[in-house]
């Protein structure tokens, strides 16, 4: 029997702030364990939290970008449970009055835009990191690093509106693009900067009632989201097909083994005993703060993507690739010559991205070496047919490693481009004289030797001729020699 999966995601985004959510410790990765800590994030007796305004501003910006309702008064609440990497044995989070509610993030599924409705976005603090039992002589020790404890986390919860693992993967990609675009987070899933839990249940297509759900934790890459969900959907389908029931449970996904393991069932579920954190005042986001959040937004990725498609006339695929990151889209716009968007897009997508991949650079690394103005100069020459294809490729290969304007680079390498008719016509004639057989074939209506003759002429020019000019001259010369009807 066919079952319809109903999926909701809970995504955690580590915010890129200078300091932690409730204290002044730096947010840094790769430091020595337990060096970025203080009484507050270690939960020492007597220490009190104080809210990081930058984290709140980040969350408001994301909420504004996604069209959420931004609450004027939201409340931090304590989520109580014991775990050794949680210093206070409660997590400061938000419960019944989150910072943002509603809103939607649009994803393109099989060419069609689909708005994934959101439940809420709220702020909370991250926990430390446990390193599980290690042998020390005859003892087994677990160790905890609290550098991550208190790092600002943003939790975004979707409504149960996703219908396939593929959709979930697209949603996560879109979310990652957005948080990077807004400069909220690096969104690196490998570093745990973007994490995802999924709630999934199955039902008969066309029915409204939801089945019993399970929660899958630890979906820490886009691939893991797809594979973990696929495995769980298959598992639930087998149960339901056999007439059995799905037991409400929390599962852990092990990406290395591609396996799901039951962490706890409903009977063992935590009672988090939420209540408003008396140490933190109500979080106020007044009209001015909300207006500012909205006003401070850049052109959003989906708007820019649409503009690239509709105003610049780029194919949907190009528009999507170029707006994958804000930096790339901005570099593209700054370097594309007017009216030659597609040409610029080809160069950026095929050549620039290839170099980035080869050298493991990001757009910034490239832009430092090839400022947009220089690349614009280059593309302008290509568009004006001043640089023939092979020459252009050659010049492009010099760009990231050499400095100075394009004209200087050309001079440095002695690149002289031949494009004048007077220069090239004798060349074409000479080739035609050397290859009478080919000319005869062409005059007889065969097209095949045309390329061969152009190639010969190019060779004679030392590779410096503009091929379009050679082709045009060859056509003209052929026409001149053809017997008039």
């Amino acid at each position: 029997m066919a079952w319809e999966p109903v999926i909701g995601l809970e995504c955690h985004v580590q915010l890129r702030t200078r300091t932690k959510m409730f204290c002044g410790c730096p947010v840094a990765f790769g430091s020595e364990p337990n060096t970025n800590v203080c009484p507050v994030c270690l939960g020492l007796p007597g220490a009190l939290p104080r809210t990081n305004a930058a984290a709140v501003a980040h969350a408001l910006r994301l909420g504004a970008a996604l069209g959420c309702r931004l609450r004027e008064h939201s409340v931090f609440a304590r989520k109580n449970y014991f775990y050794p990497d949680m210093p206070k044995n409660y997590q400061v989070s938000q419960y019944d009055r989150p910072l943002c509610e509603g809103g939607a993030l649009s994803v393109t599924v099989e060419g069609a835009a689909r708005a994934v409705r959101l439940t809420r976005i709220h702020l909370e603090e991250d926990a430390g990191k446990s390193f599980h039992p290690e042998r020390h002589g005859d003892r087994r020790l677990s160790r905890v690093d609290f550098n991550r404890a208190g790092v600002p986390l943003l939790e975004l919860v979707t409504e149960p509106v996703l219908r396939s693992p593929e959709e979930c993967a697209l949603f996560l990609s879109a979310l990652r693009r957005l948080v990077r675009w807004l400069g909220l987070s690096d969104g690196d899933m490998e570093k745990g900067q973007l994490r995802c839990d999924a709630n999934v249940s199955l039902r008969t297509p066309g029915t409204a009632r939801l089945g019993t759900k399970t929660e899958i934790k630890n979906l820490n890459s886009i691939k893991a989201v797809e594979r973990g969900l696929r495995a769980e959907i298959a598992r639930q389908a087998v149960l339901l097909d056999a007439g059995e029931r799905v037991v409400q449970a929390t599962l852990l996904y092990d990406a290395d083994q591609d396996r799901l393991a039951v962490m706890r069932t409903k009977e063992q579920a935590h009672d988090y005993r939420y209540f408003p954190d008396p140490d933190l005042p109500v979080l106020e986001a007044d009209e001015a703060a909300r207006t500012h959040a909205l006003a401070s937004l850049p052109e959003l990725p989906w708007a820019r993507e649409a503009r690239f498609r509709d105003a610049l006339g780029l194919p949907a695929y190009d528009a999507a690739v170029l707006t994958e990151s804000r930096e790339l889209s901005e570099y593209f716009e700054a370097s594309a010559p007017p009216a030659h968007a597609k040409l610029a897009s080809n160069w950026v997508m095929n050549e620039v991205l290839r170099v980035l991949k080869e050298r493991s650079w990001d757009v910034g690394d490239w832009a430092v070496r090839v400022p947009a103005a220089r690349f614009a100069d280059f593309l302008g020459r290509v568009a004006a047919r001043e640089l023939p294809g092979p020459v252009a490729k050659q010049v492009f290969s010099w760009l990231p490693d050499e400095s100075g304007p394009v004209s200087e680079i050309l001079a440095r390498h002695g690149v002289v481009v031949a494009s004048g008719d007077d220069e090239l016509r004798p060349l074409v004639r000479a080739v035609m004289d050397e290859q009478p057989a080919a000319v005869a074939q062409l005059l007889a209506g065969e097209e095949k030797p045309f390329g061969f003759l152009v190639g010969q002429a190019m060779k004679k020019s030392g590779g410096q001729a503009v091929p379009e000019v050679l082709r045009r001259l060859l056509r003209e010369e052929l026409a001149a020699r053809s017997p008039r009807p």
Binding site: L44, P45, A47, L48, K88, Y90, D271, P278, D279
Partner: protein, 491 residues
């Protein structure tokens, strides 16, 4: 014993002498521990930790040109200090040393005060008698068979017997005002948020407030002035400049005070009722106007308080788990490490309140208990606000009884909880309260009364307390000024 022995002087006298170079901070700091002080401490047990070398270092470092220059001070053991352990009267923090000073401790040091040690207390401030300290009870200096009150019994007793002129406690439901009344000293619980809670080990965060003990109204004002004010490290601290208390001698002429007589028609000790009448007379002689009114500050205040305080405590005390600091019960698995550590580390009253609070927040009971208590709190606070429509402040008992005997209530938690009935309203409403000593009753036990005022009324409360302190008849014999030269041991 001369009237000028350093331990007998007020904090302001000491500071004046130190500023003038007539007195050395180290000398004052040791004075209370020498001679009769040492004898008294053996009996009373007000102090948990008092390190002589830490005192010497603190005395040497104290600036000598400030308002509290060289003034020795004892702080309750739930205030974090770098130079003495901070145990909260609990085994679970035995020997734990804070890497930082509480903001109020830092401000005391900046004002020139010298920390001489840490005061005994009911474990994690849970109790009304200081009998729930894991390190043994404190006794009332006026009668060693009786309790000093609690939970700040140590600091209150230390000020009463003369170890120090001032001390800090914490007041979550009366833990400063009740022991002040039991020990015959002043005890101020300021408006919620006026004194930073940073470094005060939390019990009920929305109720906790650092409080001041002293033997003189002027000393209370001086300490308040040195400590009050916003703290960027405490998000719950009150914004803006604190009220100016420098006019604590300005008198009460024309002020109106509420007289909610119905509160003590029954269940209040006759000596306390008599003290209330004396205090009211003193205020009237000073020109204040008595305004009798019926006050029913929420029949459910005690229940409301114990639900909220225990709910917050159950979460606040979760961090004591043996993982990062304090006592650790070595165990084979995590669950056992937690239960072993907490089972052995916490005493019976703390365990009881953690269980109560956990229950009050549990799913299925949350709305019924925590939710209802939160709503009740809002109403109770409104009732207090309305009461101050009758006057600038009100006069009422601090406690229903005189100091009770050790062991009298430890077996009956509910009876113990009811000793907070007159004090916990101020914590629920976030308003200031001041316990005023009214001398000794015929049996020789201290009697106190309480002043309550609206938020930020500390100046008014201090002026009223000063008017009572100044009045010669008939409270004179029992006033703090009079009693002070008589070391309690000589009684």
């Amino acid at each position: 014993m001369t009237a000028t022995a350093p331990w007998q002087r007020s904090a302001r006298e000491i500071a004046t002498a130190v500023r003038a170079g007539r007195l050395a901070p180290a000398e004052v700091a040791e004075a209370g521990f020498a001679g009769p002080g040492a004898r008294w401490e053996r009996e009373v047990h007000a102090v948990l930790a008092a390190d002589v070398s830490a005192r010497a270092v603190a005395a040497a470092a104290a600036p000598r040109d400030r308002s509290l220059a060289g003034v020795p001070v004892l702080v309750k053991d739930n205030l974090c200090t770098v130079d003495h352990p901070t145990t909260c009267g609990s085994r679970i923090l035995e020997g734990w040393r804070s890497p930082y000073d509480a903001t109020v401790v830092r401000r005391l040091r900046e004002a020139g005060a010298v920390l001489v040690g840490k005061g005994n207390m009911d474990e994690f401030a849970m109790g009304s008698s200081t009998e729930f300290s894991a390190y043994g009870p404190t006794r009332n200096p006026h009668d060693l068979t009786r309790v000093p009150g609690g939970s700040s019994g140590g600091p209150a007793a230390a000020v009463a017997y003369g170890l120090v002129p001032i001390a800090l406690g914490s007041d979550t439901g009366g833990s400063v005002r009740q022991p002040a009344a039991f020990c015959g000293v002043y005890g101020l619980k300021p408006t919620y948020g006026r004194l930073s809670r940073y470094g005060l080990v939390a019990f009920g965060s929305s109720l906790d407030q650092v409080g001041v003990f002293a033997r003189h109204v002027g000393d209370v004002a001086a300490v308040y002035e040195a400590l009050a004010g916003p703290d960027p490290f405490d998000a719950s601290s009150r914004c803006g400049a604190p009220p100016d208390v420098r006019d604590w001698t300005a008198g009460v002429r024309g002020l109106r005070f509420g007289w909610p007589e119905n509160l003590w028609r029954e269940g209040v000790d006759g000596a306390i009722v008599a003290a209330l009448e004396r205090a009211a007379s003193s205020l009237e002689r000073a020109g204040a106007i008595r305004v009798p009114f019926e006050f029913l500050p929420g029949r459910y205040a005690v229940a409301t308080y114990y639900l909220l305080a225990t709910a917050e405590a159950s979460s606040n005390l979760a961090r004591f788990d043996g993982v990062r600091y304090g006592l650790r019960h070595r165990a084979a698995d995590l669950g056992e490490l937690y239960s072993g550590t907490r089972g052995r580390g916490f005493g019976p009253e703390v365990r009881r309140r953690i269980l109560l609070g956990t229950y009050a927040l549990s799913s299925g009971y949350h709305d019924q208990y925590y939710g209802k208590a939160s709503a009740a709190r809002t109403r109770i606070a409104a009732e207090y606000r309305a009461a101050f429509g009758h006057g600038d402040f009100m006069l009422l008992p601090a406690t229903p009884t005189l100091p009770f005997r050790l062991g009298e209530k430890t077996g009956d938690p509910l009876a113990m909880y009811l000793s907070d009935v007159f004090t916990l309203g101020a914590n629920l409403a976030g308003i200031p309260g001041l316990s005023v000593p009214m001398g000794l009753e015929p049996g020789g036990l201290p009697v106190g009364v309480q002043l309550l005022g609206p938020a930020d009324s500390e100046p008014v409360l201090l002026r009223a307390a000063r008017a009572i302190e100044m009045d010669g008849e008939p409270a004179r014999i029992a006033s703090a000024e009079e009693r002070e030269p008589a070391w309690p041991g000589s009684r």
